[in-house]
Subunit: 499 residues, 2 copies
């Protein structure tokens, strides 16, 4: 095979992968937003077939030859082409080890397991979910052993979401988070503040929808390229930079829950929306690692939107949409309200300070699950024990305990660390950004574009064109350092709670 | 190839066709409802690829052999299998004559042409659309000549939407409509009634959304299997009976426009929702001809929902949702209001009496376009001349004239007659239904289920299992007779306008 033939074939593979991925992405998004409840059966059939096609396109001797041909000619091909081949080779290697029957069985298992988890969560019935998690775990172990038999299984899984991450690096990272944050969390809990009166209200969903539009505009999201849907567990999906979907969930008694969902998913969206045009429709679009993706969503959600500066434009918008309810509320009131901290049960609703320890607990459990130190049947007990030990909260039922997150049900064991890593990356990025950008001045004026321009330049534009470590080093100005993150949290909450 | 091998292969073809069709249907629905405006490019790429796969699955020597093998063993296979092979053979024959490059070029052309039509309509700029319609027309002519060179091109196209329909049958049909209805339309126009005061109001869209839910419930649509979206030009899409999507468009100044859209699309939906379970995921689901499909949508929209009996439950629902606006409005007021008749410009907003002549005008123009008697550039003039001659209205611009409908832009030349045929079929079905069902008593009680049960038994359940002519004869109790339809309209409007 000549190099030119290989490049031509690579472009065909990209075209097919884009089309199949596009269809799958829209089917998932539609299924979780506007599709009728009973539509799962037909969607499952369609997704299974599209998945099989995706597998067949990628896993065949010709693809291997195409990719090898390009990878052997690094000096002769453009950086983009080389990186496409490298990225596709990784997917190829991942899938290649898995016989097609196992791939199809895996898809069927996670489809079913997700549906069972949904019901098990509603009923708070761990026993119902347990046999599925057993199977998911066995399949993930098997996958890890096929892919890299010489490595600990959990390292193989984590690496899928956060390239290069290992337990050797995550153990001290989470240890630092716990040691540095646990005392602060305790002190803050001792000075618990009440929920302010203005929040104890109903916030009609029709008005919250208007509020969402204004929040998206404030965040700098172009509605021509990104729309907002409604779902149970908010997520972001995208097919290309001109077609991004974010989602939220409205609660009538709380406008902040949906608002922070919109801003968080909006952060994921901005990453996609600002990736370079010429990476679109290739495997180099769609962002780098999950940790880097979460660094962006959590940058907008926490670092920017829970800042003192953001309360200036936020209060303006809230007064426009909810004039009666916001009467007499000051920026300081709002800043305090959006940063109330209290050890609690639900990760996705946790405040910025306690959040990383929710993740740490999941890391401990996943690690023990994979090593075999923790049996699946013992997860609820261990979960509740850790919540008591680490956050001093009593878990009343599994719905609000070990059944709260969807990740394990779809096979995402090893994903959780990305959330904490992303948060830490974000603060190190902030420290670099502050050197050249008037972050807080512009945010206070309701202008997030200087921050977004910096993130675009350092991160968003590249998609996967640069490798994750290169992107991170460039954006953080140095390697990961958990204490930059914990210092940021300690300072912020010491001021908020006058410690 | 043995018969068993052929049947097995048929099932595989059905599975692939279902999956690809499912994805395409959801991509279209999503694109016309919640997708961001700029998403067309990626969607176009995905649809082109899925279309190519669909073509390749169907058009190859093996498929031909599979279908022939089954068709040669009519006595040995179940009716369902035989009909699957027959229906698939029709699609095969249709596509087979078209080389793949032409098929792809056709998809690209209609994609582009649809987009151009949208803009041309907004700008009321016929010249902008003209070159695209020229190309669409040439492609449709070419297709007709490849498929059946011995037949008039328009007959070939009409047959695609309404099996067996020809100009020989449509000419006298439309002649009867015009001769019988034109005088009544004239008399009614002379007794024009004013729009009643209660309709001159604003109807907040948030409340109209609630109204839609109640109207769907009244129509008997299960939200677990069918959801409502919002779009510019309402349509129905479905993948199977557990996944149907209807759409509507809200106008703040008029709640009836959206309501009748919901009921019309709901009629299409009920057809799909009531098709037999064992036809799902095969080419025998998805309803029979377009005329039969329109007979169902228009049955619910006009025959049932614009009846005197329906005004009893309708007024109740409107009073629940819009108590202030409906104060003092009687059932008689409502019946008169939903049946105001006046020659007008827009087909989709036309009343039940004038509607068929809107269709007749389109039939005349399409017929002349295909025969070559009418050049594309002369369509606006001919359109306006016919609207003046037939309905005595002056067309002020092409936006409200020959650019109003999307059909030609996507290649649907020959579709329009289905609307008038469907309306006529519906009245003949009603006359049969009335023999055994207390249609008006049950409708007045807000119960449409007896009518739906009759339609399900005679039509819906079969999907394409029976041939269209068999379904029609069985449901209408005899062949098409335009005077049954015109008599119904003449009687209804003579009473309404005391002629």
């Amino acid at each position: 095979m000549t190099l030119n033939e290989a490049i031509e074939k690579l472009n065909e593979l990209e075209k097919a992968a884009y089309a199949l991925g596009h269809a799958q992405s829209i089917l998932y998004t539609d299924g979780d937003t506007v599709a009728p409840k009973n539509s799962w059966k037909g969607r499952g059939m369609a997704l299974a077939y599209l998945g099989e096609l995706t597998y067949k396109q990628l896993v065949n001797p010709e693809t291997g030859e195409v990719l090898e041909t390009i990878l052997q000619h690094k000096e002769e091909v453009p950086e983009k082409t080389f990186r496409q081949a490298e990225e596709m080779k990784e997917s190829y290697d991942d899938l290649h080890v898995l016989p097609m029957e196992e791939f199809i069985a895996w898809q069927e298992l996670t489809n079913e397991s997700s549906a069972v988890w949904h019901d098990a969560k509603v009923r708070s019935d761990w026993k119902m979910f347990e046999p599925y998690l057993e199977k998911v775990l066995a399949a993930r172990r098997r996958f890890a052993s096929l892919k890299a038999p010489e490595k600990p299984a959990y390292d193989v899984l984590v690496d899928e979401y956060e390239k290069g991450a290992t337990m050797e690096m995550l153990d001290p990272f989470f240890r630092t988070l716990r040691e540095e944050l646990a005392p602060v969390i305790k002190e803050v809990a001792a000075r618990e503040k009440p929920v302010p009166a203005f929040l104890k209200n109903t916030w009609p969903i029709a008005q919250q929808r208007v509020f969402s539009e204004k929040i998206m505009a404030l965040e700098g999201i172009d509605p021509l390229n990104c729309t907002l849907g409604e779902t149970e567990h908010p997520f972001t999906n995208n097919t290309n930079k001109w077609d991004v979907r974010i989602t939220t969930h409205y609660h009538e008694e709380d406008p902040l829950s949906s608002m922070f969902s919109v801003i968080h998913e909006g952060g994921h969206a901005l990453y996609e929306l600002n990736t370079a045009d010429d990476l679109q429709f290739t495997c180099l679009a769609g962002g780098s690692t999950m940790g880097i993706h979460e660094s962006q969503s959590r940058f907008y959600e926490n670092i920017l939107a829970r800042s003192r500066a953001f309360c200036t434009p936020l209060l303006k918008v809230m007064r426009e949409v909810f004039p009666d309810r916001m009467k007499g509320v000051t920026e300081e009131d709002l800043y305090s309200a959006i940063n109330l901290s209290k050890p609690s049960l639900i990760r996705t609703e946790a405040d910025e300070l306690t959040y990383p320890l929710h993740v740490m607990i999941r890391y401990e459990i996943e690690r023990a699950m994979l090593s075999g130190d923790l049996a699946v049947k013992d997860i609820p007990g261990e979960w509740n024990r850790l919540y008591k030990e680490v956050l001093d909260v009593d878990v009343p039922d599994d719905r609000r305990g070990c059944l709260q997150d969807s990740h394990w049900s779809f096979g995402g064991i090893g994903y959780f660390p990305s959330y904490a890593l992303g948060s830490a990356y974000g603060v190190q990025m902030l420290r670099q950004m502050e050197k050249t950008v008037d972050v807080w001045g512009s945010v206070a004026r309701g202008d997030l574009s200087p921050a977004t321009a910096w993130l675009t330049e350092k991160i968003h534009q590249y998609g996967r064109l640069k490798k994750p470590q290169e992107i991170l080093l460039n954006a953080m100005g140095g390697p990961l350092d958990a204490t930059v993150y914990t210092d940021y949290l300690k300072k912020k909450y010491s001021e908020l709670y006058s410690l």
